[in-house]
């Protein structure tokens, strides 16, 4: 089925998202965790987030597969794409429901899709961009026309409501108040549909040779389940230091590769760490003419969902002739990621 000839251009037809339940505000979160509400406001700057786990009962109300399937279905609906047109699925996540079966295959099942290639990329915030990258290559190969790129995370796995946090160090506390749950998805196709938003460039590069990870999420098996290791470790000092610098480099690398000037940008989708960090990074990126599209202050840091949540908001505003650029940094092994879009 491979057709020789020019590489097809890849378009983002639509995006969709799924956020579990009602937003949880800082008052409710502070009460549930026994931490100081004002501290969340000032140092994190995130107003609300959504949780797949019920804060009171601790019950899991949505699995990652549930959220990803909902987001994908919404994305399909937003462009009127028939699910039968979907020829592949790529999911980026750091928090799969199980190690096997890969969550992407449960998503396929929920969407009623069968007999198609699926990929799951184990990654943090860069996973969503990596999913776009794989989708771009698949469609660019000419073998596929239309597919879904999905990103999602269910971070509440590590939100232990039984812990007493009154004595916890700030670094430990951050982990509890930074994150949220959610999923996003985009329909990509060589056939644009009724709006032509071209995916011009995707950047995905590991730059962490010899560097200590900025973030570790561990997992436990039968043999080591009782070891007193922390499941989630973040080096916030290193993150605060490196991420803004890396973000600026990503911005310029994408602009240069496309021959775009900073002034050409109509929209900027900056990295979504927390309300406060995103504000700081956006200032350093220094493209005030571009309209900022951010969501983390309302959605919490839900990992691989974020770029798709931004994309969904972007598509609602973007009009013909406009350009947009997204920047993401994964601090685990210092991955640079980003993508550029142009509305034809």
């Amino acid at each position: 089925m491979t057709t020789p000839g020019p590489v097809p251009s890849v378009h983002v037809r639509s995006a969709g998202s799924a956020l579990p339940g009602e937003p949880v505000d800082n008052t409710a979160l502070a009460a549930a965790l026994g931490v100081n509400e004002e501290w969340i406001d000032v140092f994190i700057g995130t107003r609300t987030r959504h949780f797949a786990r019920d804060l009171t009962s601790g019950d899991i109300r949505w699995t990652l597969a549930d959220l990803c399937a909902d987001a994908a279905a919404n994305a399909l609906e937003n462009s009127g794409t028939d699910p039968a047109e979907v020829e592949f699925l790529v999911l980026g996540t750091a928090t799969p429901d199980h190690l096997m079966p890969a969550t992407v295959n449960q998503v396929a099942d929920q969407l009623g899709l069968d007999q198609l290639p699926t990929y799951q990329l184990q990654s943090g915030c860069a996973g969503a961009v990596q999913a776009l990258s794989v989708a771009q290559y698949l469609i660019g190969s000419g073998e596929f026309t239309t597919g879904l790129a999905i990103g999602g995370d269910v971070c509440t796995k590590h939100l232990d409501l039984r812990r007493d946090l009154s004595e916890a160090a700030p670094g430990d506390l951050v982990n509890c108040v930074l994150f949220g749950d959610g999923a996003g998805a985009a329909v990509l196709s060589s056939r644009p549909g009724d709006r032509a938003v071209a995916l011009r460039r995707v950047l995905n590069r590991c730059t962490g040779l010899g560097r200590e990870p900025g973030q570790i999420i561990d997992w436990f098996g039968l043999a080591d389940r009782d070891e007193p290791r922390q499941a989630l470790i973040e080096d916030y000092k290193a993150i605060e230091e490196s991420v803004p610098t890396m973000a600026v480099e990503i911005l310029w690398e994408l602009l240069d590769s496309l021959g775009w000037a900073a002034g050409d940008l109509d929209f900027l989708l900056p990295p979504q760490l927390s309300g406060r960090m995103t504000r700081l990074i956006t200032e350093q990126l220094g493209v005030p003419e571009a309209r900022e599209i951010s969501c983390v202050a309302d959605t919490g840091n839900n990992g691989n969902a974020l770029p798709f949540l931004q994309l969904e908001r972007l598509l609602q505003e973007m009009t013909s002739g406009q350009k947009a650029l997204a920047v993401a940094v994964e601090s685990s092994k210092w991955i640079k990621a980003g993508f550029a879009l142009e509305h034809l």
Binding site: M1, S14, A69, E77, D114, T145, T146, Q316
Partner: protein, 1040 residues
């Protein structure tokens, strides 16, 4: 364009009870074949095939659903029974309620090549009955469908041996294209009841020793017989697309020919096969090399496979195609389903195009090298073939008859769904001015799923079937509900549930099922008699429709005091219908209020408590609720409005145009607000009589509302009210000072009267066209006009709610709908109802049901949808098209089709043997099996049943000799289980007894009840429709 769309499919094949299971069987390359099951034949006695593809439950038939007496059902060829059920389900799958096709020019074409039932039953000459006549004959297999669905298009059975059902499809396609019919059911059925044909295959050297077809395989060694039944619903593609029908695939061209004087009558002919393939392609306007895959006849005989691949090679060898033609045959999974072979291949091809995947051909891995397929431009489907999406794909389908009648069809994938575009971008611009997004649910704000069935048991079974199917995968709920409203209405027992997503829907359907007590679920098992229907011990009737009185709904419009900031705002956000009607009232009010009432409500402005806003706001909410219900088909039978609520009631009664009512309410509120403050109102827990002297002593105080025997409101000057409150006569009486700005319905209102009258005189109030229970008069208005003097008097006079409502309740409404922002009047009315300790009322199990579409500030669309669902269950026919979201075009989903009962079984005993022992027809009724244990059903016994399904009282079993005689005679006549009958069972509609049977009934009854004397049957027939009526008549006759 000569294209015909396949819009509906149903089937049962070996190892697959429905199309979903069939597709799964194909995708896992499953084997549906197995040993000959009892009670078909015993190969150790008869010889012939020991294995093959057999249908499970081929003896089960839901005769009750089709109102066929058990005696008739027992005599019917099971091929008739299976085809009838299959046709019904295929029509449902096509998105149409089968009942809606009654009288339509719908054609029926059924392929069949054997009636082994006739061989078994017609050879027992002494056993021949009238039922056996209509129970046999190929034609009856098709004609039954037309009869039971009342279809008026061409109807025929087709026998061309193994190509029968594809030839039937060909005839159906032609009948559609020549406009002989607008819709067609095409199908085929095949049951192996006798080893005879298998013995023939053996003698002719065509039988596979293991009973399995192995198409194009090195191991191919002959035919294994298979059973099956399948049907498709066909429409001209243009019609299907115009109506938004879901399409599985498109038939682009078909052809049929004969091989004439070939090399022996049963020998296949390569030339003739080439010809029929080429003709079908030509008709489809397609070159053979454009075809991506082909479902072959593929019987798995050495000669047949060789000739078929050579004929294909003629068209495909050395052709310019990227890959060789992919080839497979479903016979590897099912065996050769003979008369149903063509439809099995067609359904497989349609599902392949629909799922965009062609399953593997079982046994293809070991390809027969002698066929040299590669040289013929062919390749066997050794792995599933994923078809490209987004572009049309062509498929071929062959079916060849043993006698030389060959058929071929060219199919195409369904045209892509028109891309609706970015839904959000396509949303019409927001005109509300308050920046609200378009409501997301149905027009009501929440989705209603409906389901009907002819009996309580059937409703239970189908609720569970839907719950299981819907619970399997999360799907958008809108298309599911839309499909249910289109397809699942029409039977007597109604279920309707409201849900937010498919998972919740599955749960609600299970709850609804749990609230039913289907007959016989607790019956203990009894041994079955060999030649009679078994009598079940079920306590209530299954053979009657629910006796539902038409619902009588009273609409009560709430008055002042019920308002609160933001009332109706959530509903406005969720329900497109309510939104449109509230916008409409707002437009009518705006010239008189000067500010948008809608915006006042949506912003939650506390000014709504000021009477100048409160009155028009309550009018707006009440009227919009009523208009919403009217739009979906609910009509008031009785109307009542409390004080200012009477304006909306008057509009719905047709006594005031909306614009005039809006003007009056706005002026009324505004004039009252301009009155000086200083008035108040006092609610007193006492009768008006007890207060009368006190009130008469105070000239500035009057009765404002007489709401009940111990609920009175007085109104007037604050100081005077205080004197009354402090008076010795009211010691120990509960009092409540109402928080009001003015003394409504009191002498303090007098200064507003003249100004109001001057406006009211410009408005022509008419006489209510519906029963209008006036709270001004305290009774139903007869001829009084709602004119200026009525509305002027209305301002000062007391609200006689108790009298008006009591008279309204005397009309015995079944439902009280409160149209206002919180339940006030329904609660008052319930107290009045309790008061009326009417001895007759004790017999009624319940009073009127109170419904509230907007019970509290949190009300989104759910309460409104629940109200509509409750009214639908009660028997009101809802206009579901109007209730759907106007701005949304949800293509209905496909629901799992009707689940037929399997507890009645009919078969022929004895079976064919080499001895001459006669066989016998038997009807076997198994005890109904208890449903799967379900947590919600255990609660049902104690909890009040959630009113998700209708329930009905059933008549007790007969006790006197006349009734016993009637029950037993009817039971014997129709072969019914007497305990399944009831007084409500109707001779024709429920029991399927025709006039001939009724004459026989008369004769038997005259014999059994000599006291009755001669029955004038001519007179009786039109008047007596049910058992109860006949028993009543006979009792009268015997007592004379």
């Amino acid at each position: 364009m000569n294209a015909v769309a396949v819009t509906g499919i149903d089937c049962r094949f070996p190892g697959a009870q429905d199309p979903g299971a069939f597709w799964e069987l194909l995708m896992r390359s499953g084997d549906g074949t197995g040993p000959v099951p009892p009670p078909r034949w015993d190969p150790s006695l008869t010889g012939g095939p020991t294995e093959g593809g057999f249908l499970a439950d081929a003896d089960a038939f839901d005769h009750e659903f089709f109102r066929i007496p058990p005696r008739d059902a027992a005599a019917m060829d099971p091929q008739q029974r299976l085809m009838l059920q299959c046709a019904w389900r295929a029509v449902e799958d096509s998105g149409v309620a089968p009942g809606r096709l009654a009288g339509s020019p719908t054609g029926v074409f059924v392929g069949v090549m054997g009636s082994e039932w006739a061989q078994l039953t017609l050879t027992d000459l002494p056993g021949i009955t009238a039922q056996i006549g209509s129970g046999n004959g190929y034609c009856m297999i098709a004609n039954r469908i037309s009869y039971h669905l009342d279809l008026r298009g061409p109807c025929m059975a087709v026998d061309t041996a193994c190509s029968s059902s594809l030839v039937a499809v060909h005839l159906a396609v032609n009948a559609l294209l020549t406009e002989e019919c607008d819709r067609a059911i095409a199908g085929g059925v095949n049951l192996a009841l006798s080893p005879a044909l298998g013995l023939f295959y053996e003698k002719a050297g065509l039988a596979a020793p293991d009973g399995r077809c192995k198409p194009f395989s090195a191991g191919a060694d002959g035919i294994g017989r298979g059973e099956g039944v399948g049907a498709v619903v066909l429409r001209r593609l243009a019609d299907a697309l115009a109506d938004g029908d879901p399409v599985y695939a498109v038939i682009r061209g078909t052809a049929v020919n004969q091989d004439g004087r070939s090399n022996g009558i049963t020998a296949p002919s390569r030339w003739s096969q080439q010809e029929v393939l080429a003709t079908a392609c030509r008709r489809a306007g397609a070159d053979p090399h454009e075809v991506s895959f082909l479902e072959a006849h593929g019987t798995g005989t050495a000669l047949g496979d060789m000739i078929e691949t050579r004929a294909l090679g003629h068209l495909h060898a050395d052709r310019p195609r990227p890959r060789p033609l992919a080839l497979g045959s479903v016979k590897g999974n099912l065996g050769h389903t003979e008369g149903a072979a063509g439809i099995a291949g067609l359904i497989k091809t349609c599902l392949s195009l629909h799922h965009r995947t062609v399953p593997v051909s079982r046994y293809a891995a070991r390809e027969n090298p002698q066929l040299r397929l590669a040289e013929q431009g062919l390749r066997l489907l050794k792995a599933p073939l994923r078809l490209p999406s987004g572009e049309p794909v062509l498929a071929g389908l062959s079916s060849f008859g043993m006698g030389g009648t060959n058929a071929h069809a060219v199919l195409e994938s369904a045209p892509g769904r028109a891309v609706a575009g970015t839904r959000r971008a396509a949303t019409p611009p927001d005109r509300s001015g308050v920046g609200l997004p378009e409501p997301s649910g149905s027009g009501l704000g929440a989705e209603v799923f409906v389901l009907t069935a002819p009996t309580e048991r059937a409703l239970h079974r189908n609720l569970m079937a839907q719950a299981d199917a819907i619970g399997r995968r999360r799907t958008p709920i809108g298309p599911l509900c839309r499909a249910s409203q289109r397809v699942k209405t029409g039977h007597g027992w109604r279920g309707a549930v409201v849900a937010g997503d498919s998972a919740e829907l599955a749960g609600r359907l299970r709850e609804a099922a749990g609230a039913l007590r289907p007959t016989g679920l607790n019956a203990s098992a009894r041994p079955t008699a060999p030649t009679h229907p078994t009598r079940s011990t079920s306590p209530t009737s299954t053979l009657s429709s629910p006796t539902t009185e038409p619902p009588l709904t009273a609409w009560l419009f709430t008055g002042q005091g019920a308002q609160y900031p933001g009332m109706g705002a959530r509903l406005y956000r969720e329900s497109a219908l309510f939104r449109r009607h509230l916008d409409g009232v707002d437009t009518a009010l705006l010239p008189h209020t000067g500010r948008s009432i809608r915006d006042l409500l949506l912003t939650g402005d506390p000014a709504v408590h000021r009477t100048g806003w409160a009155q028009p706001a309550l009018f707006a909410v009440g009227h919009a609720l009523g208009a919403t219900l009217t739009e979906v088909g609910v009509r008031p039978a009785l109307l009542l409005g409390h004080s200012v609520g009477e304006f909306a009631a008057a509009v719905h009664a047709g006594a005031l145009p909306l614009e005039d009512a809006a003007r009056l309410v706005a002026v009324r509120g505004s004039l009252m607000e301009q009155l000086p403050d200083g008035g108040g109102m006092l609610a007193v827990h006492a009768s008006a009589d007890r207060l009368r002297d006190l009130v008469e002593r105070e000239p500035l105080v009057g009765f404002a509302a007489l709401n009940g025997p111990r609920s009175t409101v007085i109104s007037g000057d604050l100081a005077a009210l205080e004197r009354i409150a402090e008076s010795r006569e009211l010691d120990g009486v509960r009092l409540r000072r109402l928080e009001v700005s003015h003394a409504f319905h009191s002498p303090l209102m007098r200064p507003a009267l003249e100004a109001f009258r001057r406006v009211a005189e410009q408005v022509a109030g008419g006489t209510p066209r519906l029963p209008f229970h006036s709270t001004l008069r305290g009774k139903r208005l007869e001829s009084e006009q709602l004119d200026a003097s009525y509305w002027t008097e209305h301002i000062e006079a007391p609200v006689l709610f108790a009298d008006a409502a009591a008279q309204l309740l005397d009309e015995r409404p079944t439902h009280l709908l409160e149209l206002g922002p919180r339940p006030v009047l329904t609660a008052l009315a319930r107290r009045l109802d309790d008061r009326s300790a009417d001895p007759e009322a004790l017999g009624r199990s319940t009073g009127p049901v109170a419904l509230h579409p907007l019970p509290d500030p949190e009300s989104d669309g759910r309460a409104l949808a629940e109200t509509v669902a409750a009214l639908y269950r009660a028997g009101i026919d809802i206009d579901w098209t109007a209730a759907a979201h106007p701005a949304r075009d949800d293509t209905p989903a496909r629901l799992t089709p009707y689940a037929f009962a399997t507890d009645s079984r009919f078969w022929h005993t004895g079976g064919p043997t080499r001895t001459t022992a006669p066989g016998a027809l038997v009807a076997v009724r198994e005890e109904p099996r208890a449903p799967q244990s379900d947590p919600s059903s255990t609660d049902a016994a104690t909890a009040t049943p959630p009113a998700a399904v209708t329930t009905t009282a059933t008549t007790p079993p007969p006790q006197d000799p006349v009734a016993t005689a009637v029950y037993e005679t009817v039971a014997a006549l129709g072969g019914y289980d007497p305990t399944a009958l009831s007084h409500d069972s109707r001779f024709h509609d429920d029991l399927g007894l025709d006039s001939v049977a009724l004459v026989e009934l008369k004769e038997r009854l005259t014999e059994r009840l000599p006291a009755v004397g001669a029955l004038p049957v001519q007179e009786l027939l039109p008047r007596l429709t049910s058992l109860g009526e006949l028993i009543g008549y006979l009792r009268q006759e015997t007592s004379v």
